[in-house]
């Protein structure tokens, strides 16, 4: 690419930025020039990246990102420790917490089984999940409604059920505000499965 004719550190910066999700080479170039023109913003960004990298790690229980281990959620006596909610990514914890509806603990897998991409159980935080089941009565699967999410939930439930743990799944169905006629058959089938009494 043509930015390789730039001075080496600049080219390196553009390359590094373009590796970030959602950022193409053009945007990366724009960001790099902005950072060079705004040294204070650049310094602040560099510092917060370094601080985040040094201070944030994974909670040894739930594997969510935290600056204290165990994390605040895992330590809280306000939460129901017999209930675990399995999610794919740390950002899913934030999404569920925003609702204020859930009172149990979480477990972050950091991905889904994806055999085609070479992601098996060992690449996920499944060992960690199996190691923290003492006193757990129910595990709620809150994975994304994709083939990979569903098969990961099936795989986990096969491991958990023989241990006498109730395995449930959040209802997948029609998005609020969506029209029934535009929904696909899998969505409608899931919505029917998750029906409840009125």
């Amino acid at each position: 690419m043509n930015f390789l004719s730039y001075p080496r550190p600049l080219a390196d910066l553009i390359t590094a930025l373009s590796r970030l999700p959602g950022i193409g080479p053009k945007t990366a170039g724009r960001l790099a020039f902005y950072l060079l023109q705004e040294p204070e913003a650049a310094e602040a960004l560099a510092q917060s990246i370094r601080a985040a990298k040094e201070e944030i790690r994974q909670c040894s229980l739930c594997c969510n990102f935290t600056d204290s281990d165990p994390c605040a959620l895992c330590q809280s006596d306000q939460r129901d420790h017999s209930l675990l909610c399995v999610v794919e990514q740390p950002r899913d914890v934030a999404a569920l917490e925003k609702t204020g509806e859930y009172k149990g603990l979480y477990h972050v897998l950091h991905g889904t089984l994806s055999p085609m991409e070479g992601i098996g159980p060992d690449q996920l935080r499944i060992k960690e999940l199996l190691g923290r089941l003492e006193g757990v009565k129910e595990v709620v699967m809150a994975v994304n409604p994709t083939v990979e999410g569903e098969t990961t939930a099936l795989y986990l439930s096969r491991l958990l059920k023989p241990m006498g743990i109730l395995v449930t799944r959040i209802a997948h169905g029609l998005p609020v505000g969506g029209d029934l006629e535009y929904a696909d058959e899998v969505t409608i089938a899931r919505a029917l499965e998750g029906r409840r009494q009125l």
């Binding site: 055999p115 998005p175 696909d184």
Partner: protein
């Protein structure tokens, strides 16, 4: 031709950017192609169903500079059995990965398209690994790589013995005279006979075949070995098939349709 139509199956679907998915489609007319499905990870997206792995849909695609974009997707079949059964999903993954590894973009293979679609449908009721094995051998056949399973690939002589040397480099089984410096592995004669059944029997009669787990393991391992050598790529999902712990008796008999 800035907008074109494709009758296609999603054989790979990866998260891309903030809310997009990068799809690898296998289409009836154009063969393998890649396209971005924009915004499909947002719950309200109408294109969502068409961006899921294994979906068969009518696509309207927009030709881009580097990547094509999905304008519209009308699903024809979403194969619910590939969503709610672990082994069936794993088998379909193995088929999709092999198809991806074995083909180049832009080369039409209508026969492979039909084979894949048939395979995904048959996975609903048939033993998943039986379909996966039959699929792989038939794919090899369509692409002109099919292994010689009857006679020595080198000299054509009948090959005797309870274990027979099977060599991708030679193009199938080889007799003791021709083995020479060929690399390969020993496979039980019974497994090779079973592979012939998988290759030549009508797809919809495969459910009459019976195998046990050791026969299954050898047939799949030999088939995987052959494909990996021919296409010079690892088949990662094939290597993970032992994640599935479904017993063969859970599948494959006409009487035990699961509901």
């Amino acid at each position: 031709m800035s907008v074109y139509q494709a009758d296609a199956i999603v054989i790979r679907s990866r998260e891309y950017g903030e809310s997009d998915r990068l799809l690898t489609l296998f289409s009836r007319e154009q063969g393998k192609l890649q396209a971005i499905a924009k915004g499909v990870r947002k719950p309200k997206s109408r294109q969502r169903a068409g961006a899921q792995l294994f979906t068969y849909a009518d696509y309207l695609l927009h030709k881009g500079h580097t990547l094509d974009t999905v304008n519209e997707a009308s699903p024809r079949e979403s194969f619910p059995h590939l969503w709610n059964d672990f082994e069936r999903s794993l088998a379909a993954t193995g088929m999709a990965e092999l198809l991806d590894v074995a083909t180049l973009p832009g080369q039409p293979h209508p026969e492979l398209f039909t084979l894949t679609l048939t395979g995904f449908f048959l996975l609903e009721h048939y033993s998943p690994f039986l379909i996966q094995g039959a699929y792989a051998l038939r794919l090899l056949h369509i692409l002109g790589y099919h292994p010689r399973l009857e006679n020595c690939a080198e000299c054509g002589a009948k090959v005797e013995g309870s274990r027979i040397f099977f060599s991708p480099a030679a193009g199938g089984i080889v007799c003791s005279h021709c083995r020479g410096a060929y690399s390969g592995r020993w496979v039980a004669a019974g497994s090779l006979a079973f592979m012939r059944q998988l290759l030549y029997r009508d797809m919809d009669k495969l459910d009459r075949l019976r195998w046990n787990s050791s026969l299954r393991d050898e047939v799949l391992a030999a088939t995987e070995f052959y494909c990996e050598q021919k296409f010079e790529r690892r088949l990662r999902s094939w290597q993970m098939r032992n994640l599935g712990c479904g017993r063969e008796s859970d599948y494959g008999s006409e009487s035990d349709k699961q509901h």
